[in-house]
């Protein structure tokens, strides 16, 4: 069986401020299909990811074929169809960070926390991701912990910081 | 002219290629004039002596096949991958899309027809399946390939006949290239 997403999903609440945000953005862009990516950015910022009912909502409003929206969403790595966890740990694996030990950080996270890149912990507390380059090469190796850049970190340090975040210390 | 020595071997396959070999019918007599079949599932020879030509059916699926193909390579002057399984794993390789453990579970533990015991056989005398099935070329140097599932008897005879006359066959030029 296919594990897909049905198009018919529950309606979104019109009073949800996040829905209002997306509605306003679509109106501002005149419901033009070419603004799809801009609108997806707005939705992703509001929800942290792109829930299926939000995609269905946008698809309907822009009169786009569902597969066209889904194909665009899955093409760009910025967009996520899954919740990324309450706290996020983004390990930069750009060349400079790679040369300076990004892999060791990932290995340590896997060893100590049992999470590989792209995974979210069972309790949804922590999500681990990798970035191709966050452009902070002078600070390599760099890790972004909940939007905060941790510069020149060692594997031990980052584990400590994560543990403080998720409250296991 | 000295008679050549010919062997045919059955590894990870369904023996369909050997059936097709038998389909060369009376032309087997032409082959017999030029070569002795010294080892084959259809004759009595069980050891693998040094041979001029070895037709190998089937892919490499286990530790036993692996040892066997290395031995065949040592013994054979010309090693021919015989049929789609030997050439590109074909049906034998269809388990490669899954983990071996899942394959065993499906066959022995979760199958409707099992006797409720659901045990994966593990007797030491049984061969051990490799995680992935590979075609012959991944393990040894292969001198010629006859694809097809099974290859047509005409194609098999053509290839044998050419090799037995010390010529190098060309299936494509002979319009006998076929898969499936």
């Amino acid at each position: 069986m296919k594990s897909g997403t049905a198009v018919h999903t529950k309606e979104l609440s019109k009073t949800d401020p996040r829905v209002k945000l997306i509605a306003a953005k679509m109106k501002k862009e005149n419901y033009k299909p070419d603004a799809l990516i801009e609108i997806l950015h707005t939705a992703q910022n509001a929800y942290g990811y792109l829930p299926k009912e939000v995609l269905a909502y946008i698809t309907k409003a822009l009169h786009l074929p569902p597969s066209r929206v889904y194909s665009t969403v899955t093409f760009y790595h910025f967009f996520s169809l899954k919740s990324k966890g309450e706290h996020t740990c983004l390990v930069c694996t750009g060349t400079a960070c790679y040369v300076k030990g990004a892999q060791a950080i990932l290995n340590e996270i896997e060893k100590k926390l049992g999470l590989k890149a792209g995974q979210v912990s069972a309790d949804d507390k922590l999500g681990v991701q990798v970035a191709r380059c966050i452009g902070a090469c002078g600070l390599a190796p760099a890790v972004v912990l909940d939007d905060e850049v941790q510069a020149k970190v060692s594997p031990d340090e980052i584990i400590k910081k994560i543990n403080i975040k998720i409250g296991t210390v | 002219m000295n008679k050549k020595k010919l062997a045919t071997v059955w590894l990870g396959g369904c023996s369909g290629c050997h059936m097709s070999l038998l389909d060369i019918d009376e032309r087997i007599l032409d082959v017999a004039k030029l070569a002795d079949i010294v080892k084959s599932p259809v004759v009595d020879g069980k050891e693998m002596p040094p041979v001029d030509i070895a037709l190998v059916e089937g892919a490499i699926t286990s530790d036993e096949h692996y040892r066997e193909i290395l031995h065949i390579r040592k013994q054979a002057k010309t090693l021919i991958a015989f049929g789609d399984c030997a050439v590109m794993t074909n049906v034998t390789g269809m388990r490669n899309y899954f983990h071996l453990k899942d394959v065993f579970d499906t066959a022995y533990r979760n199958a409707i027809s099992n006797d409720q015991e659901g045990k994966v056989p593990d007797h030491p005398s049984l061969l051990k399946l490799n995680e992935k099935v590979v075609p012959l070329q991944e393990v040894v140097k292969v001198d010629f390939v006859i694809p097809g599932c099974p290859p047509d008897a005409d194609a098999i005879f053509y290839v044998l006949f050419e090799f037995l006359h010390d010529r190098f066959p060309n299936l494509s030029k002979a319009k006998k290239l076929k898969y499936g």
């Binding site: 799809l36 790595h77 910025f78 060349t95 400079a96 380059c133 902070a136 | -």
Partner: protein, 548 residues
């Protein structure tokens, strides 16, 4: 606003600057890198300190764009002395201000590179890191507040736009750019003037100008720094291009990973619109031009121009075969000019100083300067700008201060995943388009990663191949399957399981993918592999299983 109004504003701002009541100017680097190491906190603390000392009327504190030595941040610069302090700790600020402003002498121990040079240079301009550089694209980065259009205006901002609108015809602008011999800074090095001329020649009711700021090479941050440090310069370049080719609409496509650059560029657009430097009838002329920002969503292939166009149109960023080139049929099928951020940043100095001036910088075939993002196992990493033709040795050992821990230089990777490596025996190679190609590498957008003996070149090739495999759009067969196949084979060799046959297959596939791929991503994906094979073949051979 018309031309006269603009002149009035500039005059007023300049007068203010000349009658400067401030004795000192303190620049705090607020590039993304320094912000990450805490420069906003430094900024706040510094302002408090100035206030406590009652110096608000004597000292001006300015947040600026990137100053260059990014791994020494946060950075703080005192003008006019040009003393730069590095790795500012908030607890030191009081002492620094006391020493600089009251005792009139710098604290040497805290100056830039004090911990790594025998003696730091008091005037940072004398430091080889800066002395060997020549800043054109980055000219005002690190000096002006990127969030104030007035700062840019005082530094000759929008003078070039003014000049082309009132004194030059589009043909003359194109001729000037052609004379400058500027080549596209995005990587391929196509002559910018010719590109402009081609778009200019197509007749259409609508044309577009696109600024490619989808800097995707891992290890490259030139465009980000320019956009963050001096967004108006890029904006001005785009407007001039719009005038020259006859476009009234521009798009700036900026990576989603650069929120600060997006914020500052959007602010710059707002400010420029307000001043009448964007929008309808710019400076009272009949020329109208407006810019919209489009945010990238994390796809390296969108740096390829046809993929970028698809992305702006709200679709999957997959490239299409060329011809037709975007100059003929681009965004929504209209003639479209696409240039890189750094190329646009070079336009206004060329107009102000003349094409001839620019063409005399650099080498005969590669004119001008190039910005590099210096990173890896080097003492001073960061953002630098040098004349074309500067040798790799000068960049690594003079500007970069040599190797970290004085290790031996092994190789430099240029052009990221599309480029190649330069081994130690070619340290004296001139950094220009042709010389790099002759070594099997490319200029690329300017990422420069320095590696020492600890880097395993087969693993480096595997790393870049993995990148290309993940970033392949999946449209054409050679790139979609070929990069995966090459990656798997490289992984096998890295795991010490590869054979000579695998190596042969790898080489054959590399040439095949290079020649048959639909776009530049696939066309250059084998470059790191081919160049490491060329210069470090032994490392591959050593990994190979020898069959009996």
């Amino acid at each position: 606003m018309n031309r006269h109004d603009l002149k009035t504003i500039i005059y007023a701002e300049k007068t203010k600057e000349e009658n400067n009541k401030y004795r000192h100017k303190i620049c705090v680097c607020c590039g993304a890198s320094c912000i990450s190491s805490g420069s906003e906190e430094v900024m706040k603390k510094l302002q408090e300190e100035i206030k406590t000392r009652g110096l608000e009327n004597e000292v001006e504190v300015v947040p600026t764009g990137c100053m260059g030595p990014c791994n020494q941040g946060p950075l703080m610069k005192f003008l006019p002395e040009y003393n730069i302090y590095q790795k500012i700790d908030c607890s030191n600020i009081s002492a620094i201000v006391q020493s600089q402003l009251t005792e009139k002498k710098p604290i040497e121990d805290l100056l830039l590179f004090a911990d790594s040079r025998e003696k730091p240079f008091l005037d940072a301009q004398e430091d080889p890191f800066f002395k060997k550089q020549m800043k054109i694209a980055l000219r005002n980065c690190g000096h002006i507040n990127p969030e104030r259009i007035e700062d840019y205006l005082v530094h000759n901002g929008y003078q070039a736009l003014d000049k082309v609108l009132f004194e030059m015809s589009p043909e003359e602008v194109i001729a000037e750019i052609k004379q400058s011999r500027l080549r596209g800074r995005g990587g391929a090095g196509y002559p910018t003037g010719f590109k402009w001329e081609t778009v200019y020649k197509y007749v259409s009711d609508q044309k577009y100008v696109i600024c490619n700021g989808d800097e995707g090479d891992p290890g490259a941050f030139m465009d980000r720094s320019v956009l963050e440090g001096n967004p108006h310069r890029v904006l001005e370049g785009m407007a001039i291009a719009g005038y020259a080719v006859g476009a009234s609409k521009g798009y700036a496509y900026i990576r989603g990973e650069y929120p600060l650059a997006i914020k500052r560029f959007e602010l710059a657009i707002k400010q420029a619109r307000k001043m009448g430097l964007l929008g309808n009838n710019i400076l009272g002329t009949s020329f109208s031009f407006d810019i919209e920002v489009r945010i990238g969503a994390g796809a390296f292939v969108c740096g390829e121009e046809t993929a970028l166009i698809a992305s702006i149109e709200g679709k999957r960023g997959t490239p299409r075969p060329r011809p037709p080139f975007p100059a003929e049929s681009g965004l929504w099928g209209k003639p479209t000019l696409i240039n890189n951020v750094e190329s646009f940043a070079a336009i206004s100095p060329i107009i102000n100083n003349g094409g001839e001036w620019y063409s005399e910088i650099g080498t005969p075939k590669s004119a001008g300067t190039k910005v590099f993002a210096l990173a890896g196992k080097i003492k001073y990493s960061g953002l630098i700008e040098v004349p074309m033709g500067t040798t790799l040795r000068e960049i690594v050992f003079d500007i970069g201060g040599g190797m970290q821990n004085d290790a031996d230089f092994k190789a430099a990777q240029t052009g990221g995943p599309s480029g190649g490596c330069i081994p130690a025996e070619h340290l004296d190679v001139k950094m220009d388009y042709e010389s790099l190609v002759s070594l099997g590498s490319i200029m690329g957008s300017g990422g420069l990663i320095i590696m020492d003996k600890s880097s395993d070149m087969v693993d480096v090739a595997r790393y870049f191949m993995e990148f290309c495999m993940d970033e392949s759009c999946g449209k054409c067969v050679p790139c979609r399957v070929g990069t995966r196949m090459m990656h798997d084979l490289l992984q096998k060799i890295c795991d010490n399981k590869g054979t000579q046959i695998d190596l042969n297959r790898l080489e054959e596939l590399a040439v095949y993918v290079k020649e048959t791929s639909l776009c530049g991503l696939g066309g250059s994906a084998p470059n790191p592999l081919l160049s490491t094979l060329r210069h470090f073949r032994q490392e591959y051979e050593n990994r190979i299983v020898k069959h009996d």
